[in-house]
């Protein structure tokens, strides 16, 4: 099943904490249940996104890695 992505954030090349900051900004205007896709290259982002998801309640529904690029899919709380 392919997930229906509402918005994408390209945070590749951005250093900590910008991928999370851009994600927090982008998820705000979405409605509950919408999916947000984020691409990041910051190696700290794997732990950061897990922690951010846990703290904010926005579920991390998918996480993959492809050649140094991390892809996260989050569901708006």
């Amino acid at each position: 099943m392919t997930l229906q992505i509402s918005t994408s954030v390209d945070a590749r090349g951005l250093s900590c904490p910008m991928p999370i900051v851009k994600t927090a900004q982008a998820i705000k205007p979405l409605t509950s249940g919408d999916l947000l896709e984020v691409l990041a290259t910051d190696p700290g982002s794997v732990k950061d996104f897990a922690a951010w998801s846990r703290t904010t309640g926005n579920e991390l529904v998918e996480q993959t890695t492809d050649g140094g690029v991390f892809r996260f899919v989050l569901r708006r709380k």
Partner: protein, 141 residues
């Protein structure tokens, strides 16, 4: 986390070098992204760095950086790292970030509010700072 009830993270910024301001900006932006309120209190040389006519200038690095540290910081910046002032602007955009200038430091540096960058929300004394700080942790940078 509940934004309304969680106590703020209180960062007292004293040093005015770019590395320490960058570290403070990163801590601020991370907390803001988690929905946690952040309260910044600007004293001495950190306040000087927030002057509207100074903010984009090179503020140097802490002495322990040395020449290797200088090169490392420059490389990160050349790779596109946002400046500390830009990081703080993004953090403020998320909401919950309050930046206050220490009134004693304002006197020391002969500054008025109009001399400061718009990132600064106001001026407060140390009593006002403690009142706003509540039970939140305090970090001196």
């Amino acid at each position: 986390m509940d934004e309304m009830t969680s106590p703020p993270l209180n960062l007292i910024l004293f040093s005015g070098t770019d590395d320490k301001l960058q570290a403070a900006a990163v801590l601020t932006a991370g907390a803001a992204a988690l929905g946690r309120p952040v309260h910044l209190f600007l004293q001495y040389w950190a306040l000087d760095a927030f002057r509207a006519d100074h903010i984009d200038r090179d503020h140097g690095l802490a002495p322990e950086a040395g020449s290797q540290g200088r090169a490392a910081v420059d490389a990160l910046r050349a790779a596109g790292q946002a400046s500390w002032s830009e990081t703080l602007r993004q953090a403020k955009d998320l909401g919950g970030v309050d930046i206050q200038a220490c009134s004693l430091s304002m006197d020391l540096l002969h500054l008025t509010e109009s001399d400061l960058d718009p990132l600064v929300d106001g001026v407060e004394g140390v009593t006002g700072f403690y009142l706003e700080a509540g039970d939140g942790p305090m970090v001196f940078i």
